[in-house]
Symmetry: C2
Subunit: 347 residues, 2 copies
Amino acid sequence: MAVKKNLTIYDIAQEAGVSPATVSRVLTGSARVSKAKKERIEALIKRYDFKPNALARGLSETKSNIIGMIVADIRNPFYATVFLECEKVASRYGYTLMVCNTLGEPELEDIYLEKMYEQRVDAIINVGGRVDDLVSNIDFVDHVNRIANVIPVIITGKLDGSDCYRVNIDQMQAMEIVMEYIISLGHKDIALIGGRDNVQSTVDKRSRYKQLLKRYGINVRNEFIVEGKRYDDESGYECMQKLFALEKLPTAIIAINDFTAVGAMRALTERGISVPEDVSIVSFDNTFIAEVTSPKLTSVSYSYENFGEKIVHAALGAIRGEEVPRIQLIQSELVIRGSCAKLNIEE
Amino acid sequence: MAVKKNLTIYDIAQEAGVSPATVSRVLTGSARVSKAKKERIEALIKRYDFKPNALARGLSETKSNIIGMIVADIRNPFYATVFLECEKVASRYGYTLMVCNTLGEPELEDIYLEKMYEQRVDAIINVGGRVDDLVSNIDFVDHVNRIANVIPVIITGKLDGSDCYRVNIDQMQAMEIVMEYIISLGHKDIALIGGRDNVQSTVDKRSRYKQLLKRYGINVRNEFIVEGKRYDDESGYECMQKLFALEKLPTAIIAINDFTAVGAMRALTERGISVPEDVSIVSFDNTFIAEVTSPKLTSVSYSYENFGEKIVHAALGAIRGEEVPRIQLIQSELVIRGSCAKLNIEE
DNA sequence: CTTTCTCAAGAAATCGGTTTCAAGCATATT
DNA sequence: AATATGCTTGAAACCGATTTCTTGAGAAAG
C-alpha cells in the first residue's frame, strides 16, 4: 500500500506499456492521448498516488512555480496579513510562496535575494525590506535591478531608480480620511506620533498631515510631530513621554501604526488619562491589534485582500510577459471603533 | 554589466577553457581542482555573478534544500514566532522555508501536503494543522504516514499512530508552573478558560490543572473550567460571560492563550473589575500580545528559540538519516508581568 | 486500389547541474 | 630505467520531467 520508492514517469510508463512521453502528455494535457491509454495511465497515477517531480518539471520548463516573498518580520501582523492574502491568490494559480524575514538587516536581505534567484523563483515580492527606505544606498538598487532584469520583482515601497513593479498604499489618501474624521470630531490639537524620517510611507503621511492642517486653517505645531525609534509599542510609549513634557497635551493623537497606538494608550492609562474621553487616538494598518485593546482602536484599513490580489496579479502578469502597470495604488477606509470621541466643548 | 542571459556552468566552463565537471567541482568543493583553474573559474563566477540553478542541482542530488512548513494561520503570533525561529536555524544550514496556511481547513492541509511532496521538499514541519486534533480521522493519519514514509515529517502535536517525529511543548510542566505561581499568591478559586475539547494540548492542560488542584487540596469546580469556541479574543470574552453568570467570580483566571486572556481582560474592564487588584489573570504562549495589554500579561513562555532549534534539528537529522528521537519535549518558564497579584486577605 | 492526410505515440534531445569512471601526466620507489 | 602511486581532469551517464521530431497506422480522397 505504502509507496516507498520515488516513482517516476518511467515507472508509470513501463507498467502501462507506453513511453514516458505519453505519460507526460497525460500529466500536462498538452496533447491528445488515446482514450484507452489515457485511462490506463490515469489509473496507475491514482493507484500509486504518483506526483511528478517538481524539480525536474521546473528544470525542463525553466519555471519553478514558486514565488519568493521577503518581509521584514512575519510576526508583525501587517506583514503576516499581506503574506496570507498573497498566498491565497498565488495558490489559486498553482504557486507556492517561499518566505524570508530580513529582520531589518540589510545583509540578510541581500542574501535572501540571492537565494531566491538561485532557487529560480518565478517572481520576487519584496514587502518592507529596504524598499521603502529613503536612504537606501545605490548598491541595493543595483542589486535589485540586476535581479529584476531576469525575474519580475514587485515591491510595496518606492525605491527610486529601480526597475520593479510597485504596489503601494496610497498614504496620502489614508492620512486624508484620518484627518477628516478627527477634524470632524472638532479636534484642532492633533499630534502625529511614531515613524521614522527615512521611511517613505512615514514621510508621505507627515507631508499630507501638514497640508491638511493648513487646508483646515489649523496651525502646524512641530512639537506635535514626534518621531519614533521603531514601529513598536515601546516607541509609542516613548513618544507619549515627549508629549507629556509639553505644557498642553493634544486632544487627538494619530499613531503611525497600531503598535505605536497601543504603546501610547498604555502611557495614557498609566497617567490616568482616559481614552477616548480625554484624548482620542487613531492609527493605521487595522491589524488585529486594533481589536484587542480596550477601548478597541479606530484604525485605517487597507483592503488586504485587494493588496494581496494586486501584488500577486502583478507578479503573475509579469511572469507571463504581459503588460503590467508599473505603479498601482491601494485605497484605504476608516474602521471606526471606540478610541475616538467628539471634542468636549469645554476645550 | 547587467547579465540578461541565464548562465550555466557550461558557459563558465567554456570561457574558462575547462570542462563543466571541473566547474561543478569548484562549485561544490567536492574534489580538488588545480589552483590555476580554480582561480580562473572563481573569477568568472564572481564576474558574472553566476549562481547555479537550484532546480538542476536539486534534481541531480535528489534534494531541494527546501523545508516545507504548514501552519494554521501565520497571523497568529505563536505560529509566526515558531516559523521565524525555524527559519533562523534552517537558513544557517542552507535551507529555505516554504510556508502554507491551512486556516483550519482540512482540505487545504491535504492539498498543501501534496504540494510539498510534489516540490520534493526535504522535510515537512507541520505546526498546528490537524496534528493536535484528537478526533482527526484515520484518513489524515494515513495521508501523513504515506508522506512520512518518504519525507521526514516533524509535527508539534500528538497524532496517534503516525510515523512522524514529534517536538512538543510539555503542557503538563507548563501548567504546573502556572498553578504553582497562582497558588503561591494565595488563590484558591482558580478558573481555566478557553480551549477546545478535541485539542490535545488543551486536554493535557486541563488534566494537569485538575491534578494540581487536588494535590493542593483544592476542590475541582467544573463550572470554573470553561470551554472556548476558538483561540481568539472573542472566545475569551465569551468565556468570561459564563463566569459572570456564576454567583461568585474566581479570584484568578488561567487563560489558554494570550488572545483568550486579552478578551477576558476586556470583559473584566467593561464590568469595572480591575486586573490584577480584583482578579489575577495569567496565560500561555507569551506572544507579544502579552506586552501590549495594560497591565502587561504574565504569561508562560516556551523558549521559542529552543523550540525552533529542536524542530529544525530533528528535520535536518532525519534528512541526513541520523537517529533522531521520536519525541522531544520543550520546557517552559513563567514570565511575570503585571497581571497577577497576591490574594486580598478579606477574600 | 493507390495516394494523401491526420493523428497517436515512441525515440531522442533538452533543461543544468553532479558524479562515476577512466585516462593521462607527474612524481615517488626500487 | 622501469614500475608503482597519486592527482587532476574530461567524457559520459544520470537525476526526472517536457517537447520536438519522426514514424507508422488508419481514414479520407481520388
